[in-house]
Protein backbone atom coordinates (compact mmCIF):
# COMPACT_ATOMS: atom_id res chain seq x y z
CA UNK A 1 0.00 0.00 0.00
CA UNK A 2 1.43 3.38 -1.05
CA UNK A 3 1.94 6.11 1.56
CA UNK A 4 -0.72 8.29 -0.09
CA UNK A 5 -3.33 5.56 0.07
CA UNK A 6 -2.27 4.66 3.58
CA UNK A 7 -2.70 8.24 4.83
CA UNK A 8 -6.06 8.55 3.04
CA UNK A 9 -7.21 5.27 4.53
CA UNK A 10 -6.13 6.27 8.03
CA UNK A 11 -7.92 9.63 7.83
CA UNK A 12 -11.13 8.04 6.59
CA UNK A 13 -10.88 5.30 9.20
CA UNK A 14 -10.35 7.87 11.97
CA UNK A 15 -13.38 9.92 10.95
CA UNK A 16 -15.50 6.78 10.55
CA UNK A 17 -14.56 5.65 14.06
CA UNK A 18 -15.73 8.97 15.51
CA UNK A 19 -19.00 8.92 13.57
CA UNK A 20 -22.31 7.80 15.14
CA UNK A 21 -23.05 4.07 14.59
CA UNK A 22 -25.44 4.56 11.67
CA UNK A 23 -23.00 6.75 9.77
CA UNK A 24 -20.02 4.55 10.73
CA UNK A 25 -21.22 1.69 8.52
CA UNK A 26 -21.24 4.12 5.58
CA UNK A 27 -17.68 5.08 6.47
CA UNK A 28 -16.72 1.43 6.31
CA UNK A 29 -18.41 1.26 2.91
CA UNK A 30 -16.26 4.16 1.68
CA UNK A 31 -13.09 2.54 3.05
CA UNK A 32 -14.00 -0.76 1.42
CA UNK A 33 -14.64 0.96 -1.88
CA UNK A 34 -11.38 2.91 -1.71
CA UNK A 35 -9.35 -0.27 -1.67
CA UNK A 36 -10.86 -1.23 -5.02
CA UNK A 37 -9.74 2.00 -6.71
CA UNK A 38 -6.52 1.37 -8.61
CA UNK A 39 -5.31 4.93 -9.15
CA UNK A 40 -3.59 6.36 -6.05
CA UNK A 41 -4.75 9.95 -6.54
CA UNK A 42 -8.29 8.83 -7.30
CA UNK A 43 -8.21 6.86 -4.07
CA UNK A 44 -6.98 9.95 -2.20
CA UNK A 45 -9.72 12.12 -3.73
CA UNK A 46 -12.24 9.40 -2.85
CA UNK A 47 -11.04 9.34 0.75
CA UNK A 48 -11.09 13.14 1.10
CA UNK A 49 -14.59 13.36 -0.35
CA UNK A 50 -15.68 10.51 1.89
CA UNK A 51 -14.20 12.25 4.92
CA UNK A 52 -16.15 15.42 4.15
CA UNK A 53 -19.34 13.42 3.60
CA UNK A 54 -18.85 11.54 6.87
CA UNK A 55 -18.21 14.76 8.80
CA UNK A 56 -21.35 16.32 7.35
CA UNK A 57 -23.51 13.24 7.97
CA UNK A 58 -22.12 12.82 11.50
CA UNK A 59 -22.85 16.45 12.31
CA UNK A 60 -26.39 16.13 10.99
CA UNK A 61 -26.96 12.93 12.96
CA UNK A 62 -25.53 14.43 16.16
CA UNK A 63 -27.80 17.45 15.75
CA UNK A 64 -30.78 15.19 15.07
CA UNK A 65 -30.01 13.13 18.18
CA UNK A 66 -29.66 16.30 20.23
CA UNK A 67 -32.97 17.60 18.92
CA UNK A 68 -34.68 14.30 19.81
CA UNK A 69 -33.11 14.35 23.25
CA UNK A 70 -34.26 17.93 23.87
CA UNK A 71 -37.74 17.10 22.60
CA UNK A 72 -37.94 14.09 24.96
CA UNK A 73 -36.66 16.21 27.85
CA UNK A 74 -39.18 18.94 27.07
CA UNK A 75 -41.98 16.42 26.84
CA UNK A 76 -41.02 14.89 30.22
CA UNK A 77 -40.89 18.37 31.77
CA UNK A 78 -44.29 19.23 30.32
CA UNK A 79 -45.73 16.01 31.76
CA UNK A 80 -44.22 16.74 35.17
CA UNK A 81 -45.57 20.32 35.07
CA UNK A 82 -49.00 19.03 34.10
CA UNK A 83 -48.92 16.55 36.99
CA UNK A 84 -47.88 19.23 39.49
CA UNK A 85 -50.50 21.66 38.16
CA UNK A 86 -53.25 19.03 38.40
CA UNK A 87 -52.32 18.06 41.95
CA UNK A 88 -52.05 21.69 43.03
CA UNK A 89 -55.44 22.38 41.43
CA UNK A 90 -56.85 19.55 43.54
CA UNK A 91 -55.32 21.06 46.67
CA UNK A 92 -56.75 24.43 45.61
CA UNK A 93 -60.24 22.97 45.20
CA UNK A 94 -60.03 21.40 48.68
CA UNK A 95 -58.76 24.72 50.07
CA UNK A 96 -61.68 26.65 48.55
CA UNK A 97 -64.16 24.14 50.02
CA UNK A 98 -62.53 24.52 53.43
CA UNK A 99 -62.56 28.35 53.25
CA UNK A 100 -66.25 28.41 52.28
CA UNK A 101 -67.03 25.99 55.08
CA UNK A 102 -65.11 28.06 57.62
CA UNK A 103 -66.83 31.26 56.41
CA UNK A 104 -70.20 29.58 56.96
CA UNK A 105 -69.10 28.52 60.44
CA UNK A 106 -67.86 32.03 61.30
CA UNK A 107 -71.08 33.58 60.00
CA UNK A 108 -73.18 31.16 62.03
CA UNK A 109 -71.18 31.91 65.17
CA UNK A 110 -71.26 35.69 64.67
CA UNK A 111 -75.02 35.69 64.04
CA UNK A 112 -75.61 33.48 67.07
CA UNK A 113 -77.19 30.71 65.06
CA UNK A 114 -74.87 28.41 66.92
CA UNK A 115 -75.21 28.27 70.67
CA UNK A 116 -71.94 28.52 72.62
CA UNK A 117 -72.64 25.04 73.98
CA UNK A 118 -72.79 23.72 70.41
CA UNK A 119 -69.60 25.48 69.33
CA UNK A 120 -67.40 22.39 69.41
CA UNK A 121 -69.95 20.34 67.47
CA UNK A 122 -70.28 23.13 64.87
CA UNK A 123 -66.52 23.36 64.58
CA UNK A 124 -66.27 19.61 64.09
CA UNK A 125 -69.06 19.74 61.50
CA UNK A 126 -67.84 22.69 59.44
CA UNK A 127 -64.10 22.24 59.85
CA UNK A 128 -63.94 18.46 59.35
CA UNK A 129 -67.10 16.63 58.35
CA UNK A 130 -68.41 19.00 55.65
CA UNK A 131 -65.10 19.80 53.91
CA UNK A 132 -63.78 16.24 54.18
CA UNK A 133 -67.13 14.84 53.05
CA UNK A 134 -67.19 17.20 50.07
CA UNK A 135 -63.58 16.29 49.24
CA UNK A 136 -64.50 12.62 49.36
CA UNK A 137 -67.56 13.15 47.14
CA UNK A 138 -65.51 15.20 44.67
CA UNK A 139 -62.83 12.51 44.66
CA UNK A 140 -65.41 9.80 43.93
CA UNK A 141 -66.98 11.85 41.15
CA UNK A 142 -63.70 12.92 39.55
CA UNK A 143 -61.58 9.77 40.02
CA UNK A 144 -61.98 8.48 36.49
CA UNK A 145 -61.79 11.64 34.39
CA UNK A 146 -59.37 13.65 36.57
CA UNK A 147 -57.22 11.22 38.51
CA UNK A 148 -54.41 13.68 39.24
CA UNK A 149 -56.78 16.43 40.36
CA UNK A 150 -58.48 13.89 42.60
CA UNK A 151 -55.11 12.94 44.10
CA UNK A 152 -54.61 16.59 45.06
CA UNK A 153 -58.09 16.81 46.58
CA UNK A 154 -57.57 13.59 48.54
CA UNK A 155 -54.13 14.67 49.74
CA UNK A 156 -55.51 17.99 50.97
CA UNK A 157 -58.49 16.23 52.54
CA UNK A 158 -56.22 13.77 54.32
CA UNK A 159 -54.01 16.59 55.60
CA UNK A 160 -57.08 18.46 56.85
CA UNK A 161 -58.41 15.30 58.50
CA UNK A 162 -55.09 14.60 60.20
CA UNK A 163 -54.83 18.20 61.37
CA UNK A 164 -58.38 18.11 62.75
CA UNK A 165 -57.81 14.84 64.60
CA UNK A 166 -54.69 16.27 66.25
CA UNK A 167 -56.56 19.51 67.08
CA UNK A 168 -59.61 17.85 68.60
CA UNK A 169 -57.81 15.04 70.40
CA UNK A 170 -55.07 17.24 71.87
Amino acid sequence: MSPIRDVARRVLHFVARLAPPRTRSWGEAMIGEMDHIDDEWDALRWALGGTLALCRCSLIEHLRNLRNLLAAELSAQRKAMHLIKSILSGVGVAGVVLIISMLILTTLQRTYWVEPSQARFAQMLFAVVVPDGLCLLAALALWRPQRRLTSGILAAGAALGAHSIIFFVA
Binding site: W26, A29, M30, I31, E33, H36, G49, L52, A53
Partner: protein, 104 residues
Protein backbone atom coordinates in the same frame (compact mmCIF):
# COMPACT_ATOMS: atom_id res chain seq x y z
CA UNK B 1 -43.47 5.40 4.02
CA UNK B 2 -41.34 8.45 4.68
CA UNK B 3 -42.15 11.78 3.08
CA UNK B 4 -41.10 12.46 -0.48
CA UNK B 5 -37.62 13.93 -0.63
CA UNK B 6 -36.37 16.90 -2.60
CA UNK B 7 -34.89 15.81 -5.90
CA UNK B 8 -31.68 17.69 -6.56
CA UNK B 9 -29.92 17.47 -9.96
CA UNK B 10 -27.27 15.23 -8.33
CA UNK B 11 -29.91 12.90 -6.88
CA UNK B 12 -31.55 12.79 -10.29
CA UNK B 13 -28.19 11.70 -11.76
CA UNK B 14 -27.83 8.92 -9.19
CA UNK B 15 -31.38 7.68 -9.74
CA UNK B 16 -30.81 7.81 -13.46
CA UNK B 17 -27.66 5.71 -13.05
CA UNK B 18 -29.61 3.15 -11.03
CA UNK B 19 -32.34 3.06 -13.66
CA UNK B 20 -29.85 2.16 -16.38
CA UNK B 21 -29.59 -1.30 -14.83
CA UNK B 22 -32.43 -1.40 -12.31
CA UNK B 23 -32.04 -5.03 -11.28
CA UNK B 24 -28.29 -5.14 -10.77
CA UNK B 25 -26.31 -4.24 -7.68
CA UNK B 26 -23.98 -1.25 -8.07
CA UNK B 27 -20.77 -0.24 -6.31
CA UNK B 28 -20.19 3.28 -5.00
CA UNK B 29 -17.19 3.91 -7.25
CA UNK B 30 -19.07 2.52 -10.22
CA UNK B 31 -21.95 5.00 -9.65
CA UNK B 32 -19.44 7.77 -9.06
CA UNK B 33 -17.81 7.14 -12.44
CA UNK B 34 -21.17 6.89 -14.21
CA UNK B 35 -22.52 10.12 -12.74
CA UNK B 36 -19.29 12.07 -12.40
CA UNK B 37 -20.14 12.76 -8.75
CA UNK B 38 -17.41 12.79 -6.10
CA UNK B 39 -17.70 10.54 -3.08
CA UNK B 40 -18.47 13.57 -0.89
CA UNK B 41 -21.60 14.23 -2.92
CA UNK B 42 -22.53 10.68 -3.77
CA UNK B 43 -22.58 9.12 -0.30
CA UNK B 44 -24.91 11.64 1.38
CA UNK B 45 -27.32 11.00 -1.51
CA UNK B 46 -27.03 7.23 -1.08
CA UNK B 47 -27.53 7.59 2.68
CA UNK B 48 -30.65 9.69 2.11
CA UNK B 49 -32.01 7.22 -0.45
CA UNK B 50 -31.36 4.33 1.93
CA UNK B 51 -33.04 6.26 4.77
CA UNK B 52 -36.11 6.66 2.58
CA UNK B 53 -35.96 2.92 1.82
CA UNK B 54 -35.59 3.66 -1.86
CA UNK B 55 -32.21 1.93 -2.02
CA UNK B 56 -31.25 -1.37 -0.42
CA UNK B 57 -27.70 -2.23 0.51
CA UNK B 58 -25.63 -5.36 1.01
CA UNK B 59 -22.04 -6.29 1.61
CA UNK B 60 -20.19 -8.36 -0.96
CA UNK B 61 -17.18 -10.32 0.18
CA UNK B 62 -14.26 -9.50 -2.09
CA UNK B 63 -11.25 -11.58 -3.10
CA UNK B 64 -8.69 -12.28 -0.39
CA UNK B 65 -6.75 -9.31 0.94
CA UNK B 66 -9.41 -6.78 0.01
CA UNK B 67 -12.20 -5.53 2.28
CA UNK B 68 -15.84 -6.33 1.46
CA UNK B 69 -17.66 -3.90 -0.82
CA UNK B 70 -20.93 -2.19 -0.14
CA UNK B 71 -23.45 -2.59 -2.92
CA UNK B 72 -26.60 -0.70 -3.75
CA UNK B 73 -29.78 -1.37 -5.65
CA UNK B 74 -33.16 0.31 -5.98
CA UNK B 75 -35.94 -1.31 -3.97
CA UNK B 76 -39.23 -1.97 -5.81
CA UNK B 77 -40.59 1.15 -4.11
CA UNK B 78 -37.42 2.99 -5.08
CA UNK B 79 -37.82 1.90 -8.67
CA UNK B 80 -41.39 3.22 -8.82
CA UNK B 81 -40.46 6.42 -7.01
CA UNK B 82 -37.34 7.00 -9.15
CA UNK B 83 -39.31 6.64 -12.38
CA UNK B 84 -42.04 8.97 -11.15
CA UNK B 85 -39.63 11.55 -9.72
CA UNK B 86 -37.44 11.58 -12.81
CA UNK B 87 -40.49 11.99 -15.01
CA UNK B 88 -41.64 14.99 -12.90
CA UNK B 89 -38.09 16.29 -12.82
CA UNK B 90 -37.88 16.04 -16.61
CA UNK B 91 -41.12 18.02 -16.97
CA UNK B 92 -39.91 20.66 -14.52
CA UNK B 93 -36.55 20.90 -16.19
CA UNK B 94 -38.00 21.26 -19.67
CA UNK B 95 -40.47 23.94 -18.52
CA UNK B 96 -37.60 25.81 -16.84
CA UNK B 97 -35.62 25.62 -20.06
CA UNK B 98 -38.59 27.01 -21.99
CA UNK B 99 -38.89 29.85 -19.46
CA UNK B 100 -35.17 30.55 -19.63
CA UNK B 101 -35.25 30.60 -23.40
CA UNK B 102 -38.28 32.91 -23.32
CA UNK B 103 -36.35 35.32 -21.07
CA UNK B 104 -33.39 35.30 -23.41
Amino acid sequence: MKERFRLSPQTALVLDAFLERPKSWRYGYDISRDTGLKSGTLYPILIRLADHELVETRWQTAESGKPPRHMYRLTPEGLRSARAQLRDYGHRKSSMLVLREAKI
